[in-house]
Amino acid sequence: MFSKALSCELLWDAAVSGVVVGRQRWILSTMQKYGPELVTMLWRILGNEQDVCDAYQDTFLQLAHFEGGRKPDHVKAYVFRTANNIAVSMLRRRMAERNRLSGPIARTEATASPAIEVDSEYLQEALRRRIAKLPEHLRNVLALRDLAELSYAQVGRILGISPGTARVYRCKAIQLLAMWMSKEE
């Protein structure tokens, strides 16, 4: 009697997991379809391979748990926006940690030297710091347009704005970044 109950339970578990797998197979398809673009975008935002892997993992984990495993209506938009937000959060955490570890004197010394200013690593890090400070609507457009290299039409569709608005936001983002770059000098 006990063994019969056990076998029934096992069968039920197998059937349920089979249904769940069948229902969530689209996650793997999404990974196959948008994975390369996502990795490129995350790499450009973060510039560190381990951070890219972590952000990518978090993105798909959130996707798998979206409203109890339901497929979002616009998967591409969800995936790109989630990845972008996760990457920026990681960037901010990294910046805060760096600020905490290095004193204010060390920071002023790093920006004072003109030789460091033309260094590509320094430039990229400086831009990343400022991108993390941008308002969300401008940052999203900049990340999707310049770092993920999507067209304005695609950016508009993902963010729910018109391509013209996306162009304006991108222009504002660049102007703001340029202003911040010149202020720090």
Partner: protein, 180 residues
């Protein structure tokens, strides 16, 4: 028909407006260049804009390692449900390498395709007789010119100027052009 004409006019006007505005208000405009060369504030702004663009280009130009996609997929699949991890598609994703897009892959064949298209166009033009029609057109044009010269300055001079046509027309006039 009227709509098409209006469209063409619109297009011409747009092009003309764009050219005129670029000439007077674009980055290459003389007054703007002379202002920038003497205004330190604009120079500072342009330098910082250039710096942002340079940093963005550097970010785009820096490549990641080839196995990054593979590792990211592996890590992400590791936290999915057991059933999904055991799927054959998951196993394929764990060994996937980034591939160039179809447009990038076909880009190197662009020149060859262009040459082939040009050859096909020439063959098509030969097939439909455009070249022979052009030849006929040229021959008849020269014949008319010869007749005009013959009428205006005399037959001898016309024969000197167009000797080939004269020989042809004396041997026979297949196109039926009247000799003067």
């Amino acid at each position: 028909m009227a709509i098409t004409r209006a469209d063409n006019q619109c297009r011409r006007l747009r092009t003309w407006l764009y050219t005129a505005m670029t000439r007077h208000w674009g980055a290459e405009a003389g007054w703007l260049q002379s202002h920038i060369s003497s205004c330190p504030r604009c120079q500072r702004r342009l330098v910082s804009l250039g710096k942002v663009n340079l940093a963005l280009s550097l970010m785009k130009a820096r490549p990641h390692s080839l196995s990054l996609l593979m590792r990211a997929n592996e890590q992400a699949i590791g936290v999915l449900k057991h059933g999904l991890r055991a799927e054959p598609q998951a196993a394929r994703l764990k060994t996937t390498l980034p591939e160039p897009k179809l447009v990038e892959r076909c880009g190197r064949y662009g020149h060859s395709v262009g040459h082939l298209a040009a050859c096909v166009t020439v063959l098509l033009l030969m097939k439909i007789g455009v070249f022979s029609s052009m030849d006929t057109f040229q021959t008849e044009g020269q014949e008319i010119m010869r007749q005009y010269y013959a009428r205006q300055v005399g037959q001898d001079l016309a024969e000197d100027v167009f000797p080939a046509q004269t020989k042809q027309s004396s041997s026979g006039n297949p196109r039926g052009v009247a000799n003067v």
